[in-house]
């Protein structure tokens, strides 16, 4: 990004990003998930420093928005943490490919006056909170899991997403796996009918609401909890351990799936088996048309992806994401060849 006075800018050519050749500025527009927004915005800024003529403008409007705008071709690439389902893929004007970029974790954030400890949650307990069955913070189920914490008798204010969200997808995917009630009542999708609570727009909106609403609980990508210093709890995994989200725990969750990842890279790694694995982890994907209409932008994006999959991964740790497993990177680099850039 340009951090100095406008004098250092290169003028953008007045067209929709279809400039040819080096040195001529190219603007590529993308939109989608808020989950990876912190690292994407870092990537696009760093990439722009390396290649000042390439400006990738990303708007985090939610995975649902990313899929829709990509299908409408009002943006060049999309981003989502809930992979497109077959129906959505069929509705698109051309074949779309998924490319995992990083691994992330969805954490349960909370704001309980007087409670500074780290709370423990199990999957079924989180499901019940979001189903509206656990209404107060001093509910015996929560108290049993957290004997040391002084849980007050405050109402639990549930915060969820108001927009179509891959983060929601990851969260409800996990909850549906651990709670049959949740699966039947709410189900899995980027947008669900929440039985209770208040909606925030984007990861930003949920984090904002939780920080401002005492007694609230929400679900956000790990970096949003870290950057805003919101308390988040540990979640019990399949091995029975209570794991707090970290790059390490997320990487362990991906290990099992990485070996058998399908060729289109659409896979869920929530509730992953294995010791030390964080149960609410997920890949996040960038969506690209196999046959882009603008070849110059297509080439530029493929080059960017190659950078992101290799050099870009070193920015993960600082921002709370986990880098992709090596074999997945290799498979993706091969898959990038499928994109027709000439």
């Amino acid at each position: 990004m340009l951090s100095a006075c406008g004098g250092a800018t290169q003028p953008v050519t007045a067209n929709n990003g279809g400039a040819a050749g080096n040195g001529q500025a190219l603007q590529i527009n993308g939109a989608g998930a808020t989950f990876p927004n912190p690292i994407y915005s870092k990537w696009f800024a760093e990439y722009n420093k390396l290649h000042p003529e390439i400006r990738i403008n990303y708007q985090s409007i939610g995975s649902g928005g990313g899929i829709q705008q990509l299908t409408n071709r009002t943006v060049f690439f999309g981003a989502t943490d809930g992979p497109m389902n077959d129906e959505q893929l069929k509705a698109a004007p051309g074949p779309i490919l998924h490319f995992p970029t990083v691994l992330g974790a969805v954490v349960p954030v909370y704001n309980i006056p007087g409670v500074t400890d780290e709370l423990k949650f199990t999957g079924p307990v989180l499901a019940d909170i979001y189903l509206g069955k656990i209404k107060k913070w001093n509910d015996p189920v929560l108290a049993k899991l957290n004997p040391g914490a002084k849980l007050p008798a405050t109402d639990v204010t549930v915060v969820h997403r108001s927009d179509g969200s891959g983060t929601t997808y990851i969260f409800v995917d996990f909850l549906s796996k651990v709670s049959p009630d949740f699966k039947s009542q709410v189900g899995v999708n980027t947008s669900v009918k929440w039985p209770a609570g208040v909606g925030g727009k984007g990861n930003e909106g949920v984090a904002g609401l939780v920080t401002q609403t005492p007694g609230s609980i929400g679900y956000v990508e790990l970096i949003y909890a870290l950057q805003n210093k919101i308390a988040f709890g540990s979640v019990q995994n399949t091995a029975g351990e209570f794991v707090k989200a970290s790059d390490d725990a997320v990487t362990k969750a991906a290990d099992a799936a990485a070996a058998t990842i399908p060729p289109d890279f659409r896979v869920s790694i929530t509730n992953a088996p294995g010791a030390g694995a964080y149960p609410i982890s997920s890949f996040t994907w960038i969506l690209l048309y196999e046959n882009p209409t603008d070849k110059a932008s297509g080439k530029a994006i493929v080059d960017f992806m190659q950078w992101a999959l290799t050099d870009g991964q070193k920015y993960c740790a600082d921002l709370g994401y986990a880098p992709l497993p090596a074999n997945v990177v290799m498979l993706e680099q091969a898959a990038l060849g499928k994109i027709k850039v000439s």
């Binding site: 340009l2 100095a4 953008v12 009002t74 943006v75 984007g202 939780v210 950057q227």
Partner: protein, 285 residues
């Protein structure tokens, strides 16, 4: 007949009523004071050179500013004016010159309708008419949406001002053999011009503060851009994005953006008012 004194009950009721009206004024002024107080106190802290000269930094990093957004708002309002001023003023001329005709009634009805259309609906219209055919979000789409909103304001203001021009001027011009066009453009419109310009400035101030129609037309852009066919940032959309985020630094910048918006509006209103008063003084007494 001996005059009776008003019974105390009625006097008390009247006094209470007067007090209630006074309270109503205070009730309205309190939120105004509150809003202005917060906008100014919170915004001023964050208004520094950084804010005006820099573009936004990556998500979560402290610093950066709204240079691209400020320029974006200027470009968008400029585009809107380019669309709205010709259509608005000339429609206003038609409405005043051909007042009684049926078409004029239709135009007037259309202008009043357009004035009342919620801004989000205008955004939907602009999306369907500009964004979809063009294939992507763009400054043009945003300017189009804002321009549509300005047209009825300018048209009605122009009509009212032209009607205020004394008939003697028109009759004089026509008596001297001027065509209608000549009479209107060389005599009548110039006579009303200060007021018309004031109207345009006020309309500009109003749409500079609009957010909803830009949400899915000009969209947003993290980079500094002046391209008409690319998405562009704007102060209003940026303030919205920052306000609903969890980052303290972004909240700070949102207040600063709000302060800039309120200042623009205030300056335009005052300028318009001073201009109008000056014209009234030159003309009236």
């Amino acid at each position: 007949m001996k005059a009776r004194r008003t019974p105390p009950a009625r006097k008390v009721l009247s006094a209470l009523f007067v007090a209630a009206c006074g309270l109503a004024v205070i009730a309205a002024l309190i939120p105004l004071a509150f809003v202005l107080f917060f906008v100014i106190s919170q915004g001023v802290q964050s208004l520094n050179l950084d804010f005006f000269l820099n573009n936004p930094r990556p998500v979560g990093e402290v610093g950066g500013g709204m240079a691209n957004a400020i320029v974006g708002t200027l470009i968008l309002t400029g585009l809107a004016a380019a669309l709205a001023v010709p259509i608005g003023i000339l429609s206003g001329v038609y409405l005043s010159e051909y007042r009684g005709s049926r078409f004029a009634s239709t135009v007037r009805f259309a202008a009043d309708t357009l004035n009342g259309v919620p801004s989000i609906v205008i955004g939907v219209f602009a999306y369907a008419v500009v964004v979809l055919p063009l294939g992507h979000f763009s400054t043009l789409a945003g300017g189009f949406a804002l321009g549509i909103m300005m047209i009825p304001i300018i048209a009605r203001t122009t009509e009212e001002l032209l009607l205020l021009v004394p008939n003697a001027l028109r009759e004089g011009a026509l008596a001297l053999g001027a065509t209608r066009a000549r009479a209107v453009f060389s005599v009548i419109v110039p006579a009303a011009l200060p007021g018309i310009i004031t109207g345009v400035v006020l309309a500009l101030a109003r749409i500079a503060g609009e957010t909803a129609p830009l949400l899915f037309t000009s969209f947003n852009n993290g980079f500094f851009s002046t391209s008409l066919t690319q998405p562009i940032s704007s102060i209003t959309v940026q303030v919205f994005t920052y306000a609903i985020s969890p980052y303290e630094d972004w909240h700070r910048q949102a207040w600063a953006g709000a302060l800039v918006l309120v200042t623009i509006v205030l300056l335009c209103s005052m300028a318009a008012r001073i201009a109008a008063a000056r014209v009234a003084r030159i003309r009236g007494q």
